[in-house]
């Protein structure tokens, strides 16, 4: 009997099992409705656009303040904005960093800032305390000296470790090769640029960028309109500042063929491959959504995308291969790649290029576009789970000038994208034959990369995207170099003989004519020198004087057409003093100029000594030919206000004039500008009208 019961109870569930045909795939139920609530948008008197998205699911609230300034070119101070960003929460005039950290942590809040924004998130009950801290930071951040030093030291360490991190190396180089010199997105912090970052520059960056005008305050969470207005009045109304910084940024780089860039990472077991190119598109453009679908299908969101299927599931070259389109109003670019074991580095590049090429040639399959669109629709729905999504949508609409119902009708717009649309945008934007192929990896893979390069020359860059300069040690000292140089240009004269020769020169006047691609008329540059220490420069063209400057040994000024005359600062005067003289090298020692020989490297295929010179203000690098000792090239790094400029001068056509050798050809590159100069006259002991330079 007992056995019988046991058997029975065991039988019950068995008999209850339903029949099931597992080969029948379930059908979807009716599509769920997606509701996107409108955010409230209003502007404050001091110019903040407030976007409020109420969500009372959790007793939390967040405030995200985003500035309206454009990214700034940092040049010689590349990395400035990042350093400044990480210092914003380093203390205020009311609180030390320790106090601030403690007060934030005490309420379990998060308060953070970066180079362009500030963010607070906390429980609703701690909101007032949190906002008090946020507004204190916003208005009173004081960038204490010791914190600045600490963050700079920390960045030094980070830069050191970046040299062993393949991912960072790859990102640095991709940035560098896709954007032209001077574009903020192409700037990468280096050990040299970090040295130029100081507290003044940081404060000035902060003041310029963090300003209420044109900024956005995104409020999300457990808060209503009335309370929002109240807290804005209380914590943000007294915030003032200038107009946001605006900039027109230059064109993207464009190659004529594929360009291979190799970065050496010792001991690497994988190559980090990034195939990239700039794209001329902004988020508000009509093609934007089509491009997102295209990228999703090629190597974006879906696991079943072409790159993943080909390189991981089919070939097993990698754990992941993806593509990305980074599109924003200041600069957009495409990248595709991943990490691949050394042996398949070349095969992986071949396959990625093949996929980029293929998608621009033929219509994609129905299945693929269907899957990608479904995936994107799903991702869109999933994103709505986060309360900040709705606010982000509102911010995008305003920033990118999108139609008000852009997100409400997003799914319909997505559904309307066709295979032909994808082929059209692929043809328009994907430049399979003009890619920047960046490989960070083991030196042993370099030879395999050669076939991919358009001109058969692989560029080697370092971890920061700078050319690997293969510099060899110099075989003479800096003083020996200077002596040899002076002797050369004085045509053999030395010591007293040279003094005698120089004494005869009371003044000099040199006129150089520059041809400038951008200007229809030639520019005339006049430079004068007198033996009582006066130096003057003038730039004229088309009957006008554009710039002039002078220095008389004690004071001087710069003048330009727009801004008038500005006297030289003390720092500039000190610097000028160090480089005075007809042949300034002769006086380096006496004038206290800092100089050192860095080694030798090739300039136009010939070895040259590299002399680094610092006048207390700017660095310059002078290149002296190893055989002739002629000064063949100068690189001058100048900084004024926020701007850093690199000027490269190549000298040529050396000829003797009154017993001295001078160059007669000067090719100058300043940023995007190139000038070809020819000396039209050089006269000694002429009368100099010093006033015309003042």
């Amino acid at each position: 009997m007992r056995n019988f019961i046991v058997t029975l109870t065991l039988l019950v569930p068995t008999l209850l099992l339903a029949q099931i045909d597992r080969s029948v795939r379930p059908e979807a139920g009716p599509a769920p409705k997606i509701n996107i609530e409108d955010s409230e948008v209003f502007e404050t008197d001091n110019g903040i656009t407030v976007i409020l998205s109420e969500n009372h699911k959790l007793p939390k609230v967040s405030f995200s303040l985003v500035m309206g300034s454009a990214p700034m070119t940092e040049g010689e101070r590349a990395g400035l904005s990042d350093v400044a960003g990480s210092l914003i929460t380093s203390g205020t005039t009311n609180r030390t960093k320790d106090e601030l950290d403690n007060e934030v942590d005490y309420i379990g809040a998060r308060l953070s800032a970066d180079n362009n924004s500030m963010y607070l998130s906390c429980l609703t009950k701690h909101m007032d305390k949190g906002l008090e801290l946020m507004s204190d930071v916003l208005m009173n951040a004081n960038f204490p000296k010791d914190e600045v030093d600490r963050i700079i030291t920390q960045n030094e360490s980070a830069l050191a470790s970046a040299k062993s991190d393949a991912g960072t190396m790859s990102r640095n180089v991709v940035a560098k090769v896709n954007f032209p010199e001077g574009h903020p997105y192409g700037e990468v912090m280096t050990e040299e640029s970090l040295k130029n970052i100081n507290r003044d520059a940081i404060v000035s960056y902060y003041k310029k960028t963090f300003t209420p005008k044109g900024s956005y305050l995104v409020v999300v969470g457990d808060i209503d309109r009335a309370k929002t207005e109240e807290i804005i009045e209380k914590y943000f109304a007294s915030w003032t500042g200038s107009n946001p910084y605006k900039a027109e940024l230059g064109n993207r780089n464009q190659n004529s063929g594929n360009r291979v860039i190799f970065v050496n990472k010792q001991g690497a077991v994988q190559s980090v491959i990034a195939i990239s190119f700039p794209m001329d598109v902004a988020p508000g453009d009509e093609d934007y959504l089509k491009l997102q679908v295209l990228n999703g299908l090629l190597g974006g969101g879906v696991f079943g995308n072409r790159l993943m299927q080909n390189l991981r599931e089919d070939k097993a070259y990698t754990y992941g291969c993806r593509s990305r389109m980074s599109i924003d109003e200041y600069g957009s670019y495409f990248t595709a790649g991943g990490n691949f074991r050394n042996e398949v580095t070349d095969s992986a590049i071949t396959e990625i290029l093949y996929e980029i090429d293929r998608i621009g040639k033929d219509l994609v399959e129905d299945d693929e576009i269907k899957m990608t669109k479904a995936y994107m629709a799903g991702a869109f729905a999933r994103s709505l789970e986060s309360p900040s999504t709705v606010a982000r949508f509102a911010l995008n609409i305003i920033k990118n000038d999108l139609p008000k119902d852009y997100y409400q009708t997003y799914l319909q717009k997505l559904e309307a994208v066709t295979k032909q649309d994808l082929l059209d945008v692929a043809k328009k934007y994907l430049t399979a034959g003009k890619c920047n192929i960046v490989v960070v990896g083991n030196e042993e893979v370099v030879d395999r990369l050669l076939p991919f390069d358009g001109d058969g020359k692989i560029e080697k860059l370092d971890a920061f995207g700078n050319e690997v300069i293969e510099r060899i040690p110099a075989d003479i000292s800096a003083d020996e170099l200077i002596n040899s140089y002076i002797k050369t240009i004085a045509e053999g004269a030395e010591g007293k003989k040279l003094d005698k020769k120089l004494k005869k020169i009371k003044s000099m006047k040199e006129v150089v004519e520059y041809q400038l691609a951008q200007a229809p008329f030639p520019m005339k540059a006049t430079q004068v020198w007198t033996n009582d220490g006066f130096e003057g420069r003038k730039m004229e063209g088309n009957g006008m004087t554009f710039q002039k400057s002078y220095f008389d040994g004690e004071k001087g000024a710069n003048w330009n057409m727009q801004g008038g005359s500005t006297p030289l600062t003390d720092e500039e005067v000190e610097a000028k003093k160090k480089s005075s003289g007809l042949i300034s090298e002769m006086n380096y020692k006496a004038n206290g100029m800092a100089y050192e020989i860095l080694g030798m490297e090739e300039v136009d295929g010939k070895l040259a000594y590299v002399l680094k010179v610092n006048d207390g203000k700017d660095d310059s690098f002078d290149y002296y030919d190893k055989e002739t000792f002629y000064k063949v090239k100068s690189v001058v790094i100048t900084t004024s206000e926020e701007e850093t400029r690199e000027t490269v001068i190549n000298y040529g056509d050396f000829k003797s004039v009154d017993g001295f050798i001078f160059p007669h050809k000067l090719d100058v590159v300043i940023g995007p500008m190139a000038l070809n100069g020819k000396v039209v006259s050089r006269e000694f002991n002429v009368k100099v009208d010093t006033d015309s330079y003042k």
Partner: protein, 492 residues
């Protein structure tokens, strides 16, 4: 640099309870042993379908390490009804996303789908549980993919091997000796029998928790679960079903003594003849023995000090202490102790090593609680030109301090406020809720912990924190690893 450590820092924050909002759920067992947990919430039209298998790298044989994780990869390859490559495609083309992960203790699969695709998710997961199909092409492909994953995540990643090195030294006996990624040689050596055994032992209903959260109707969902999961045979009958699908008539007959033709795959538990009925019933009543290691008894008996040369620029130091298993009562105090040391910007380690003394670029500690044992880890990457010994001295100073003095009332309040915030913020997504419910059920003594865990933290006193610091931060029993640049090894 930063991203390398993100994953590690989050370990300490694996909290799963909520203070103010009660998470409602229903839970029950199916007859075949699957534990089901359902949470209904309609704010977003999505649903998370998850299955947790109570198997991880600690269930591996010592000569087959990495197998659990490898298996996770293989189980995306397809089933009797799903072609190779189709599994993820089905999810994605229906607007969903999917993934899985493997730890020492568990293998976790999930799909997040539009809520009208709930049934698809259930079908997919039930297919995976019942009759995954593993062929040689899939094995070869995934073998290479896993090798690339290891190269990317460990070999080519500065300092990333510290995890492996630490566990190797801490657990000499327990299978925590190796980490989930395992050995590539072992994967190469694996034979077909290994795969079959692993699947038949661990991928069975009694070892699974099905946890679903999102825009669902509980009653409707129960019906669908019955259709797809209750139909999965119980006990050894699941393996009989698998044999039925794969074996020849003769092999099946000789193994079970009944004819294969008696059975219908769509109604397997009800074959034609009574002999077959008895045979399948017998299998259903034979439970599957799931081997599990005992709790780790490994203890350090002194200071273990080693140098590891890696492709790095800045030296690093990693120190390991033996902590108890995650369910041990001391773990609440240990986690709070860890937060005093390393929970936020104002906590002690960051303030001293990184900000005040500027000896480290990154410095932190975390407590790592597993099912059978735990570990506390202190880690720092040296600042440029700073040496590891002085970093260690500073760590030791901080450790001595938390052992010798009670933490201040302010610090204590701060930690408690932080926990409150964390609890409210956790469980903000349906996928997170499904996962937390399953985790709490399997590892923390019940799904209800999702709502009650905060109380346990709030009970911890300052004295408790000092007590556990004294008990577990044993300076005479710890592991100290120095990471040095490879070039220094070459110069030696």
């Amino acid at each position: 640099m930063k991203q390398v450590f993100l994953l590690l820092v989050s370990f300490g924050l694996g909290l799963s309870a909520l203070a103010q909002r009660e998470i409602e759920y229903v839970e029950y067992d199916l007859d075949n042993g699957i534990h089901v947990i359902l949470h209904e919430e309609h704010s977003t039209p999505i649903v998370a379908v998850t299955v947790l298998y109570h198997v991880g790298s600690k269930n591996e044989k010592a000569d087959r390490t990495g197998f659990a994780h490898f298996f996770e990869h293989l189980l995306f390859e397809g089933t009797a009804n799903i072609e190779r490559g189709e599994y993820s495609e089905l999810v994605e083309k229906n607007g969903g996303t999917l993934n899985a992960n493997t730890s020492q203790d568990r293998t976790f699969y999930y799909e997040i789908l539009p809520s009208n695709q709930l049934e698809l998710g259930l079908w997919l997961e039930s297919e995976r549980m019942l009759h995954a199909k593993v062929d040689s092409v899939g094995i070869e492909t995934q073998r290479s993919v896993v090798k690339e994953e290891k190269r990317q995540r460990v070999d080519n990643q500065p300092y990333a091997s510290f995890f492996t090195e630490m566990f190797k030294r801490m657990f000499k006996e327990h299978p925590y000796n190796w980490v989930p990624i395992g050995s590539m040689e072992h994967l190469d050596a694996a034979q077909e029998a290994d795969y079959v055994d692993f699947y038949r032992t661990f991928y069975v209903p009694a070892n699974a928790t099905l946890s679903i959260a999102g825009d669902i109707d509980i009653d409707e969902t129960k019906k669908l679960i019955k259709k797809y999961f209750a139909s999965i045979p119980k006990g050894q009958a699941i393996n009989m079903f698998r044999d039925f699908e794969l074996m020849s008539e003769d092999a099946f007959k000789s193994k079970y003594g009944v004819a294969k033709s008696d059975f219908d795959g769509n109604n397997f538990m009800n074959p034609k003849s009574s002999a077959s009925k008895a045979a399948v019933k017998k299998q259903a009543n034979t439970a599957i023995e799931i081997p599990r290691p005992e709790k780790s008894k490994d203890q350090l008996d002194g200071v273990v000090k080693d140098v590891i040369y890696d492709n790095i620029t800045l030296p690093g130091i990693f120190m390991g202490y033996r902590f108890p298993e995650q369910t041990h009562a001391d773990m609440y105090a240990l986690q709070m102790m860890n937060d005093v040391l390393s929970g936020s910007a104002s906590s002690r380690i960051n303030k001293s090593l990184v900000e005040k003394k500027e000896m480290a670029t990154f410095a932190f500690s975390f407590s790592y609680g597993l099912e059978d044992a735990g570990m506390g880890i202190f880690a720092a990457i040296a600042a440029k030109d700073k040496d590891l010994d002085s970093i260690q001295m500073e760590f030791d100073k901080q450790i001595d301090l938390i052992k010798s003095e009670l933490i201040s009332q302010d610090e204590f309040e701060k930690i408690r406020n932080q926990y409150e915030n964390q609890f409210i913020s956790s469980n903000s997504t349906v996928a997170g809720i499904a996962e937390n419910l399953a985790d709490n059920h399997v590892y923390n003594g019940g799904a209800e912990k999702i709502n009650t865990e905060l109380e346990n933290y709030m009970k911890v006193t300052r004295e408790d924190i000092q007590r556990v610091a004294k008990k577990y931060l044993t300076q005479d029993k710890r592991i100290i690893l120095h990471y040095l640049p490879k070039e220094e090894e070459e110069q030696k």
